[in-house]
């Protein structure tokens, strides 16, 4: 009915809206890429040009050699990996319990967890900062990771519970009749079947952990221990408004956003499917 192949008014409108969307949402990133590859004369050139006269890839080399950004990225990688593994270890059993057990207070706890997901980290970080001073956990990665895991638990439990709910109970019951313990049935039956859900949890937790800013901004003062989000913000602060460092700041920012964007572009179909099913389910 719809696709007659000819270009009607509606189709033109749709194409026009796509062009606007792509320009508005990719334009700024494209401009940053262009800036990051410019030499200083190119940056000062007026009118500004999109294509640098020479691709100044050495800007990235400068960031690698003369800033803490590579160190910060390594910190983020380490913190993210441990956070993601730790979160799974804690949330898989919890999500299984919420999916399979009926106990008093279950609804209330799930509701509380939903509330925790909505709460700004700013609210909890104020008292946590005080505890961390006394426990000597400021400026440590393990202290940071404990908080990261905590803030990932609510979302991950809800996500995994949704996936576990969709697995027929008969499946794990069959395994248990065959003599498997509950733990064995989870490891051998539930986890393999729920792999797409676990993959989604890993994905979203990776992106979230990589993006965390406020928590490390407050808890980690030492530059060489900071994750990339704080590292690049501090770098932006030190270079400030100086025009002659715009290209370097652009390069540093792109390096910082690259992992999240790369993961997204490669897995976008999967991500969109999870987002949509999550949105429908709530």
């Amino acid at each position: 009915m719809h696709s007659r192949g000819r270009l009607d008014g509606t189709k033109i409108l749709i194409y026009a809206s796509y062009i606007v969307v792509v320009l508005v949402f990719w334009g700024p990133v494209t401009w940053m890429i262009s800036l990051s590859l410019k030499t200083i004369p190119d940056i000062l050139a007026y009118p500004p040009k999109l294509f640098p006269s020479r691709l100044a890839i050495e800007n990235y080399g400068t960031i690698f050699e003369q800033s803490t950004i590579p160190r910060n990225m390594l910190n983020s990688a380490k913190i993210t990996i441990i956070t993601v593994l730790g979160t799974l270890l804690v949330t898989v059993p919890a999500a299984y319990a919420f999916s399979r057990f009926r106990f008093k207070g279950r609804t209330q706890i799930l509701m509380a967890i939903l509330l925790f997901q909505m709460i700004s980290t700013l609210i909890i970080i104020l008292p946590l900062y005080r505890y961390f001073i006394r426990l000597n956990l400021l400026d440590t990665h393990h202290g940071l990771i404990l908080i990261y895991i905590t803030v990932q638990i609510p979302f991950t439990v809800w996500l995994l519970k949704g996936f576990f709910d969709s697995i027929p109970k008969s499946l794990d019951e069959a395994a248990r009749i065959d003599g498997a313990s509950r733990l064995q049935s989870v490891i051998r039956v539930i986890v393999p079947v729920a792999m797409p859900g676990i993959a989604a949890a890993v994905l979203f937790n990776t992106i979230n952990a990589w993006s965390q800013f406020l928590i490390p901004f407050i808890l980690i003062g030492k530059g060489r221990l900071q994750p990339i989000s704080v590292g690049v913000a501090k770098y932006a602060e030190t270079v400030g408004e100086a025009i002659v460092t715009t290209h370097l700041l652009a390069a540093a920012s792109l390096m910082a956003m690259l992992p999240a964007i790369a993961i997204f572009i490669v897995l976008q179909r999967f991500i969109v499917r999870i987002l949509i099913s999550g949105a429908v389910k709530g």
Binding site: R106, L126, T150, L275, V280
Partner: protein, 299 residues
Amino acid sequence: MTRIGAAKEFGSRLAWLAPAIAFLALFMVLPLFDVVRLSFTTASIIEPEYSYTLSSYAKVFGDKDFLWSLSITFIFVAANCALQIPLGLLIALAVHAGRDRNVYGSILARTAILTAWIIPGVLVGILWKTLLSSASSGIINHFIQSLGMERIPFLLDPLYAVISIIGANVWGGAAFCMILQYAGLQRIPAELYEVSRVDGARAWQQFLHITLPQLKPILFINLVLITISSFNTFDMIATLTSGGPAGTTEVLTLAAYIQVFTYWNMGRGSAIAVLLLTITVVMTVVYYKLFQLDEDIAE
């Protein structure tokens, strides 16, 4: 089941939940109660001694700067709701209509908007700071000039700074609304449209009488979620304006941070945090009611 059996069963069930509950109890519930307690104290970051008082709240509400923070936060939240939801819906409609009609580029448009969403808030701030700069790298001012208008000192002028934080947040957040609405659109039964087409309804009539009413629940949920996330915005504003110029864009989260880490007033900062917490709790209850989770969970 025997009593011992029941206790054993209870114990083994508790073990599944224990790690998650322990994390949440220690690093979420405890600080939540503590922030409320601290808001009634004279605590500072450095001095270990403090006493209990109501003065934090009195000082907070007697402070003109705080009242400004409160106002600007509400403006920021209202503007984000008013802009993100229609924009998200518009793009969702375009992507949905495009897929229906096999138009090329619907995936591309969806990917473009979601890319902005995946960029961490800190970097959204740095990105827009660069784009809005008055220097030659500030491409937006170049466009404005080429239209024959004067350069705009976006981040130095109070009004434009407010517009800038709203614009950058809409840019980063619209994708979430788009995805939510897009999911909602896919759930509307196609028969509804077919029947109305037979009745001779025009596209805008279909939108008013079918699409909008069918989307209503999702739109409400979207409103609640955008409200909460806008109230909680910190990262993007911290790098875009740092609350400036002269505190104009100092939303509640920034105000709390500054009270605690610049003025070392743990009590006053906590009082602001408690206010944020109250708003979050109210909005979450609304969200919960909208979903009627009790039915969903009890199944």
